[in-house]
Subunit: 140 residues, 2 copies
């Protein structure tokens, strides 16, 4: 693991920390706030631009009372100024009185901006079956 890969994984972890904390402020700090960033939530329409992405997180956070995440990083790749991470997500959440557990697979792309790796693309898709990944870790 190179120091740069570690920094990217730290940025990835901060994204999931923001998600688990249901914190829009933390979410704002991990994304690059540009009109070309994109987000593909499972089952949602494709979102482009920070405004739409930001609104989607607000909506998710407003409709969720509790979230617990287990993230298993599968791979990280760092190129010049751009990096991406593949990981699995186990998401236990409560909203409107219902408790759910879902499994997803994600591709997160980061851009190095003023010395910080910021999220510019998040694509998460549902996985049909539970993940048994020994490398999984709890984000906290």
């Amino acid at each position: 693991m190179t120091p740069e890969e570690e920094k990217v994984l730290e940025a990835n972890k901060n994204f999931y920390r923001a998600l688990q904390a249901l914190s829009i402020e933390e979410m704002e700090s991990v994304w690059l706030q540009e009109e070309w960033v994109r987000c593909l939530h499972p089952g949602w329409e494709f979102l482009e631009g920070w405004e739409a992405v930001h609104e989607s997180w607000q909506q998710i956070f407003e409709n969720t009372t509790f979230m617990r995440l287990t993230v298993g990083v599968q791979a990280v790749r760092v190129e010049k100024g751009i990096a991406w991470v593949c990981c699995t997500e186990k998401i236990s959440s409560a909203s409107e009185g219902r408790f759910e557990t879902a499994f997803a697979q994600a591709t997160n792309i980061f851009k190095l901006y003023n010395g910080r790796w910021l999220l510019v693309h998040h694509h998460a898709s549902h996985l049909p079956a539970p993940i048994t990944n020994p490398a999984a870790e709890i984000v906290q």
Copy 2:
């Protein structure tokens, strides 16, 4: 649309041409054949390395007798030496006597290598509902 964005979209189109043609030779020519490339087929396990990715395409092609694709490009982003494309896929295919139509959302990452944009990451996920995208085009 910049000339570089056009080149990336051409590489993206070549990937879908290879897929529709069920041609392993064409698929070999659009990917960067490195041990760190990755592929997330809908519902499959995460694949890492050209060998595993190549084998997956062979398996898909061997089990498919016909494929017809409609690809709707939603967005392209080019950074220094790395680019990615978001697109929707409508896949009509026949395998083992069954005819199916599926809808998917993809993130494809390309790396500029010796003047050519080569695929290094493919993440496709099922979409629950049909896509009505006027920008959709038939790959042929």
